[in-house]
Amino acid sequence: MSLLDIKGLNLSIHSTQILRDVSLSLEEGKVLGLIGESGSGKSMTALSVMQLLPNGAEMSGQIMFADRDLTAQTESQMCALRGGDIGMIFQEPMTALNPVQTIGDQVAESVRIHKGFGRREALIEARKVLDKVELPAAEFPLNRYPHQLSGGQRQRVGIAVSIACNPKLLIADEPTTALDVTTQAEILALIKRLVLEDRMAAIFVTHDLAVVSDLADSIAIMKSGEIVEAGPTRKVLAEASHPYTAALLEASAHAPERFDVSADTPLLEVRSLTCTYPGRRQHLLHKPDPKIAVNKVSFTLQRGESLGLVGESGCGKSTLARTILGLITPQSGQIALDSGTVPNGQPMPRHMRAKMQVVFQDPFSSFNPRHRVARLITEPFHLLPNPPKGAERENAISDALASVGLAPSDARKYIHEFSGGQRQRIAIARALIARPELILLDEAVSALDVSIRAQILDLLSDLAQKFGLSYLFISHDLHVVRAITDRVLVMKSGKIVESGSTEDVLHNPVHPYTRSLLAATPVLSI
């Protein structure tokens, strides 16, 4: 007898079909991996089980949970199930907790709702649950607020909220996507332990096959609102009988064809660069100690080379990128690009800035939504002494769009008319248009689905060869760094702790930090 049995679930929101004939079943104590790219309907399937669908949703089909049809429950019956027999963890630990309530109260609330405990008893229970998710009382008293915790710690609180009443079914919707690799590994280990200890059944929703491959007993692969393949994990991954599964597996291990174009002439030289931020004032009369974000970093990037920079969030890699771009003036150190040097402590001269461009992570928020593509991608022209005008400008726009695989007619559209992958292509076109020598890619493919990511990596590799570009590729994802870079720098707490050729560093890591990063990276085990 299965705990959860979804039969022929159809869902449309404002008459747009989201799910088509989805059927799934899950035994007690088993883990189901629900895998798909963004928009595949995997989160909506999870929310259908919770009956927490957005307004305008129309559903048909059956969702049997412990012999009850969830689609036929009243709202108050569902309230008794949510957080009671069914717990749910969400993706964004930074925003999923109430910022003005203590973590103790937030965990205790679940207990109060479902077990009818008073505040005092519920807080005692909350303490036990927080201990269980490895937030010990000494460091994490109940009166902590979410803003005093890191992302991983907040996700632990989120897990504590969802398991406080020992649910029979735990639904985890991309619970580790927003976290660093090492934190992700810890959270995955925690979820695995809880599922085993309490014999909970779990649905683990993710876009990353590697994350669930050694956690899930069975997996279901979704595409455009349908389940294209489902079965025991090993079998599905080994056989990959559906072409989409095969394509997904290929894309997640995709390495673009690369051509060695690097020469032995340095393009970018960074010498003992230090950047500090003003720290928090500890005493009213004392000057606050500065916070060192980048600590005496030196490296050289050769012309035509693709250099990787890896490290976890907060290690200073984005500050380093911004300093190289001239957006932040460093406290000390030199940056030399091509033949120009930045005078010490002064802003970067314009002619140097014109030689490099950047592509950021978020393809949705890094464009002004009220400008047309033509205006968006010609922005770097203001760095040039004689920007092209008239027909010359039109040609430059068409060329830039063509080189990233878009049509010249796209220049007249607005950014909301494009998908995430297309937006990232537009960001690359913007970076290319002023013909820079160096492009900084700050987590440029991290927000993309695996299949789109594979296409963008291919595009970057082609462009490097065609235009003789150099890349500084900043990422926390070692798979991507391995696929696209020649050399790699490993950064921790503002310092470069290890550097060398990508293959060497990733195969024979010397520094313990590099080793822990590698160990934490999920590997697709087939």
Binding site: E75, G84, P99
Partner: protein
């Protein structure tokens, strides 16, 4: 929290010091000699000079500023040029009308606005929400003096429940005083409640789409419980800001309503003082209002920190 409060207190004192200089300097540059004004057009120059000396107007500006400030710190606001009575007494009498009126109106506005705003937000997009928003739009648009006159026509003239104006004083007990202030307070509260309920609704609606509201629902709270337990406190920051501004406005800006109901409040006092060039009264009342506004801002700042723990560290 204590450090935060101390820091706010220091900035409160700084703001008061700056405000006193600005108020003093502004009065200095206004043309017109109070002594000449008091004695009339035909006064002899010697008499005017004598009066100037008596009023302390012949001293230098810095000496007069120091005099004025030290006087105020001791509760001595000087003597009114026109009425020859201590300013502190005049202001004290008026404050006992204006302050209760402002608090009364603010309480009414809050009592109306909170449930209305919460109700509209919880019925977002429905006819209830649209209806409430339409009504509050009207409440903002109707001039309060006109509304005050309608209130007088209905409740004072036709129904005879309240008197049409005037104030019996607090000597006769709490009830007659409050009764006399009821119609003016309602007239003042209507537009304030309309604004406040709109702010409340939009702040709550912003919260409804937050991730933590989804978490709250996934815990098993109903939509209404999630709104009251989680959204409400998060929505308080903009509401507190508006409440603070409204109190300041109600204290000093009630002049039209005071005139409609013949209430001798602070607004009327300052209006008369300006007309009569009674500069010492103007200075003092302005300074008291500045103090009230800064004090309310301070209290609102403390309330922010009480509501949102993230603000306590700065």
């Amino acid at each position: 929290m204590l450090r935060y409060a101390l820091k706010r207190l220091v900035s409160l004192l700084g703001a008061l010091a700056v405000a006193s200089v600005v108020v003093f300097a502004a009065i200095e540059v206004i043309p017109g000699d109070p002594a000449a004004y008091m004695l009339g057009l035909n006064a002899a120059p010697e008499t005017v000079a004598a009066l100037r000396a008596e009023l302390g107007l012949d001293a230098g500006p810095i000496a007069r500023y120091i005099n004025w400030v030290t006087g105020m710190l001791q509760g001595d606001f000087g003597i009114s040029y026109t009425y020859r009575t201590p300013v502190s007494e005049m202001v004290g009498d008026r404050l006992w009308i204006s302050l209760p009126l402002a608090l009364y109106a603010l309480a009414l506005s809050t009592i109306i606005a909170f449930p209305v705003g919460i109700w509209a937000a919880s019925k977002r997009g429905t006819s209830v929400d649209i209806g409430i928003m339409g009504f509050t739009q009207l409440g903002v648009a109707i001039p309060n003096f006109w509304f005050a006159m309608i209130l007088v026509v209905i409740f004072a003239i036709n129904l005879r429940w309240f008197s049409a104006g005037g104030f019996p004083g607090w000597g006769g007990g709490l009830f007659p005083g409050l009764k006399a202030l009821t119609l003016p307070a309602i007239a003042l509260a209507l537009p304030q409640a309309s604004i406040l309920s709109r702010v409340m609704r939009s702040a709550l609606v912003d919260m409804l789409d937050q991730d933590f509201m989804r978490t709250a629902r996934a815990k098993g709270l109903t939509q209404g419980q999630a709104l009251r337990r989680h959204a409400l406190r998060n929505a308080m920051i903009p509401v507190l800001t508006i409440l603070g501004l409204q109190f300041s406005f109600l204290l000093a800006g009630a002049i039209i309503i005071e005139n409609v109901f013949f209430l001798p409040g602070l607004g009327r006092l300052i209006f008369q003082a300006i007309a009569q060039r009674d500069l010492i009264v103007v200075e003092s009342v302005v300074m008291i209002l500045v103090f009230a506004v800064i004090l309310v801002t301070f209290l609102v700042d403390l309330a922010y920190a009480a509501v949102d723990p993230r603000l306590r560290v700065h």
